[in-house]
Symmetry: C2
Subunit: 335 residues, 2 copies
């Protein structure tokens, strides 16, 4: 068994990433290639990138025990199909899992990219510590997504829709979300909305702000602009950033009362802010959490960053082959 390897493929709008893990969960090699247009060429690229990564790892193609594929878009996980994807034109009803499995000669699984990343963080990132059995990852990008691990298992739900954390309702009758709901977390805490909320705040007030110049020059504001100007003491930028952290903290409090996880991990572009995100989130969590018992939650930033998807996909493929095994046991045994 020690010679077996697991392939993790992460299909992104910009790049295809491949990682090769051994059965102890160690990343042996990785390869990244640009995502081209159309499923046929992309699938061919995924297969050749996987072969290249296996070659880099210095192992044989026959050693592939299983393949995990992380994909964006609307998926039929049971059938292994990409049904539709806004970021990948032409990807309609593509039997991605079986195409990859046949080409690489190994069983494969398909998983939602945000959930695969959450499992990666659990398996080998911030949540790799052996006491962590329950972990929630909140991904702060264009939208807000995530994944939930309960007692070592990734939660899928009845229709594989679990983990849509961005559509938690955090403000009754709040801002109208593109999804049709009002007051979604995504409307207060996604990277794109942080920039937009700052633009709105500039328009709504006469407050001086160093962001006014940025808006004038570039016509828009990003979460990165808000973060930077908040770091440099701009009051309006800090207000937006701080409010964002407060909404995230309130969502974390609800999560703790529901699921009592050991850890919540923030990932995605906005998590690059590191402690500048973490400290206000932790502050608001403690300030707003109940007083009956002290919180025992750890809130962290993703440790795997862009490798979370390939790691999680490979680890899930491993779990597929060993459904009754305790993955943490396997992982820790190998260290």
């Amino acid at each position: 068994m020690d010679d077996e390897i697991y392939i993790g493929l992460d299909l992104g709008g910009t790049n295809i990433k491949v990682g090769v893990l051994n059965s102890s969960g160690k990343l042996l090699s990785k390869v990244s290639v640009p995502t081209q247009r159309g499923p046929e060429v992309v699938i061919a690229n995924m297969i050749s990138a996987a072969r290249k990564a296996v070659d880099h790892a210095g192992v044989d193609l026959n050693a592939i025990a299983a393949v995990g594929i992380a994909s964006p878009g609307s998926l039929d996980i049971d059938a292994g199909m990409v049904l539709h994807c806004a970021n990948l034109p032409g990807w309609d009803n593509v039997p991605l899992r079986n195409r990859i499995a046949e080409a690489l000669g190994a069983p494969a699984i398909l998983e939602n990219d945000a959930r695969a990343a959450a499992y990666g963080e659990f398996f080998a990132g911030a949540g790799r510590r052996s006491h962590v059995r329950n972990l929630i990852m909140i991904t702060l990008g264009t939208g807000v997504g995530g994944g939930i691990i309960i007692d070592g298992r990734l939660v899928h739900g009845q229709k594989n829709m679990a983990g849509e954390l961005g559509h938690s309702i955090v403000v009754p009758d709040g801002l109208l979300c593109g999804c049709g709901q009002k007051g979604c977390l995504e409307m207060y805490a996604s990277a794109s909305r942080v920039g937009q909320r700052a633009v709105q705040a500039l328009q709504d007030s006469q407050k001086p702000s160093t962001l006014r110049g940025v808006l004038k020059t570039s016509g828009e504001l990003t979460a990165r602009d808000v973060e930077e100007h908040a770091r440099h003491g701009d009051e309006l930028a800090w207000d937006i950033w701080n409010q964002t952290c407060r909404y995230l903290a309130l969502a974390c409090i609800t999560a703790v009362h529901w699921l009592d996880p050991e850890m919540i991990v923030f990932g995605g572009g906005m998590a690059a802010a590191g402690d500048f995100l973490l400290q206000p989130v932790r502050h608001h969590f403690t300030a707003n959490y109940w007083k009956l018992e002290p919180p025992e939650l750890t809130i962290r930033i993703s440790e795997l960053g862009n490798d979370a998807g390939i790691t999680g996909a490979a680890a899930l493929a491993c779990a597929l082959l060993r459904p009754y095994a305790d993955n943490k046991g396997i992982r820790n045994a190998g260290k």
Copy 2:
């Protein structure tokens, strides 16, 4: 194996309930006795009630395969201890699980009462239908509690604190809860708070309401008063009831995006309102749910009522002895 039986004990502030289940999950007999004062006499009563229930079931005491005990209060589940209980004076650091196990000569487990009830509903109540693998129960009583079943397993969390659904934050900076948080679901949707919110509404407005007479006569209002007067067309009572259902619906929407369960079940005293609770909750759920895909959630009222605790405790005891088995399989196989 078919002759094995499982005992479910439900320790309540008013009554001790005992149920005897066979290995197919069928309730063979039940017994209820009043809860007396102090742990010694109560434990003795629990044991004798269990023996009586076994006798009523027409089986032998040696047939007891395992015992499940549902208890209120603060518990150390791993140690099987009742640490403290507001409703049961004198119950401090009582090794309830081992006392019962020794007396009945069978392995026993201790579980939080709301979680046991949730598991009971999953196992043999509203969630018994074989397609239900993920279920959330929300208990509307003096407080709001509950339990979560994911992929057939009861969620405990790191410190056995999962399922404190009443302390979800549904209104940022909302009403101050006794727990120290602001805007807890419990402050908007518990039976006691529904009555108190109606009192407040009467004081805050000059609106005519048939509840004014009730308040004058009895000095307080219950959720049952609000429900009855709402049923009879009182506008103020209906507003309070309807708002309550709306907050519950918003909490259900968040739950669906997090965990994607097949079913949410309402239990506890206020669930006795039946369709009068269910219909507005379903209405607000549909009206406020995202428009990307239609909801596939079923919202129901508890079917087991007061038997949910004993059924769940016994079923959990069964799961303890068969940790790798699929309980639903066992349950359905016996039918």
